[in-house]
Symmetry: C2
């Protein structure tokens, strides 16, 4: 029997604005051997994601806040080391929400564990194209925005794990142009040369968003995949086509604000003027469609239609750095931590 200790991260303090390393604390604890119906899992990969920043605030978001001193949660992939559960055996690959730690013991359903299929994908892909970000892109485009061939698609936060998958699905589905915004010239290059975006701009230097979106989406935006919110979203809304559909996936521009921001009511009014549908969504609401989405993503990957890029930080002890790096937009591709 292995790994009866786990090294785990919790909040030392609630971050104010951009999190800093001193907001986090690490400890190593003993974990109990698995009881009846429980499994023991050694994590191999974990994901750091923008939504985690929301859980660090003590206010309502779509998931409950993390508590100071309690081990945080997040997507992780690992191998079963001991199983007292009939559906799992030693060596099975599982995804779970028991990240920010090296190992865990418990009932699979308590950790939202899911046994992963052998579909020709590398393990870490289950935190990327075949995991939460990939399935977010899949559900947000195909179920929420009801993507149609020929749609003009705009993606904010285009270089992230979700955005760089959104564009590929949109191209597979025959959309054009697919346009993205991101936070550096290097990312603009990445979007166009590697991710197949038709056009992209750096929102930090090209600040006349209204003109830029109009220039790059001359027929108006039919489908807006929003990861960002704020001023950029106002500009996209002003350029929405009639009967446009907005998939609201995230609002990274708002997560670190210390007080709530005001914006023009004109954006809400555009929903009426252009008869637009806007929908906020989270992948779990499409939970029942997970296996179908994973199979589809694996199929596209194995056919060479879908690629991805990872940005790997080694060692669980470096998770807060990886998290802050991702929040600052310094990652190139899906930000992962190789746990061991």
């Amino acid at each position: 029997m292995t790994a009866l200790t786990s090294t785990e991260w919790s909040l030392a303090a609630r971050p104010v604005g951009m999190p800093k390393l001193s907001d986090f604390q690490m400890k190593t604890i003993d974990i109990a051997p698995p009881g009846a119906g429980e499994i023991q899992v050694k994590n191999e990969w974990m994901s750091v994601d923008p939504y985690m920043r929301g859980r660090m605030q003590d206010r309502e978001s779509y998931v409950p806040p993390f508590q100071i001193g309690e081990t945080m949660q997040g997507g992780a992939v690992g191998r079963v080391t001991v199983s007292n559960h009939p559906d799992y055996k030693e060596g099975d690959l599982v995804s779970s929400m028991a990240g920010w730690r090296t190992a865990w013991v418990g009932k699979p359903e308590m950790a939202m564990a899911q046994k992963l299929p052998e579909v020709g994908l590398p393990e870490s892909a289950f935190l990327g194209v075949a995991g939460m970000p990939g399935l977010t892109a899949y559900a947000g485009l195909l179920r929420v925005a009801e993507l149609k061939e020929g749609d003009t698609v705009f993606v904010s936060g285009a270089a992230g794990a979700v955005g760089s998958t959104v564009v590929q699905i949109a191209k597979i589905k025959g959309c054009s142009p697919v346009v993205g915004s991101c936070g550096s010239d290097e990312k603009v290059k990445f979007l166009i040369e590697e991710c197949r975006y038709d056009a992209a701009f750096n929102y930090k230097t090209d600040t006349d968003y209204l003109a830029k979106v109009r220039e790059l989406c001359p027929k108006g935006v039919d489908c807006y995949f929003d990861n960002v919110g704020g001023n950029l979203t106002d500009a996209v809304f002003a350029n929405l086509a009639q009967f446009a559909r907005v998939s609201i996936c995230g609002m990274i521009s708002q997560y670190n604000l210390q007080k709530p921001e005001m914006g023009p009511r004109a954006s809400y009014m555009m929903l009426l003027i252009r008869q637009v549908s806007a929908q906020g969504f989270l992948v779990p609401q499409f939970g029942g469609k997970f296996p179908q989405g994973i199979q589809q993503m694996a199929k596209w990957f194995n056919e060479g239609k879908l690629t991805y890029r990872e940005d790997i930080v080694d060692g669980l002890e470096n998770t807060p750095e990886a998290f802050i790096r991702m929040l600052k937009g310094e990652n190139r591709g899906k930000q992962l931590v190789r746990v061991s």
Copy 2:
């Protein structure tokens, strides 16, 4: 052959803020006899509606702006007096967009004319429960918001022609509570005693909207039918239930503003936090469903399940007064003008 003149209203000037009588001008013109494929119609009723205020601005809305000196448009019901069109005969009842005038001549499709069925409804009902406002309520609840039995429904602008129909359809469909906001204590009484609202409040005197909506919709709002926008909408958004649906039908709070207003971005964020769908819509987008909607509304009316109230101003010459009265919220029931 009758009515070869028409008395018509146009804008004398673009209104600034609340329109005044001097913004309008009336003239009587000769109209040509009907040519091939044309009909001549004498209007009997016309409707004044909030959306017309938008068309008086020289800026984009969902319909093109009225031009100074050109006869305005709007919903009207009249009788065919002469027909050179095979589908129409003298005496047929037709709805059209050729309001703000006593008579018109032209191809039916140019006036968006529609021959009205004999379904046991009074003529004026085709401008109310079986016309644009009624079908707006019908489509907004059943097609846009996908109303479900047991939903908590909130209606802003609850005493208007649309709002007072929304509540009745919601009650027929088993929703509870159905709560409305309106602009006077007398209207609150009307909403509860005549319109079957479960609760209502006067937004001019009960100004803690957040607390009021929470009090009256303790389980959260599942379906929000928005005619108003602005601060009240922010409060409803803060009280939306998970998976709520918002039908955006109008934004009367914004139409008379002389400069665009700012509002909290938190409202847009609620779409994400509570996984909400919000959709702006206009009845014409459901055009193909019109006959079905009219039949359903007539059925409910004839079964005594659907009632309505009209506020009638007599004489085309008094149309601007009727319009301003409606914008100020002084009407009780659907504001109509009896043309002759």
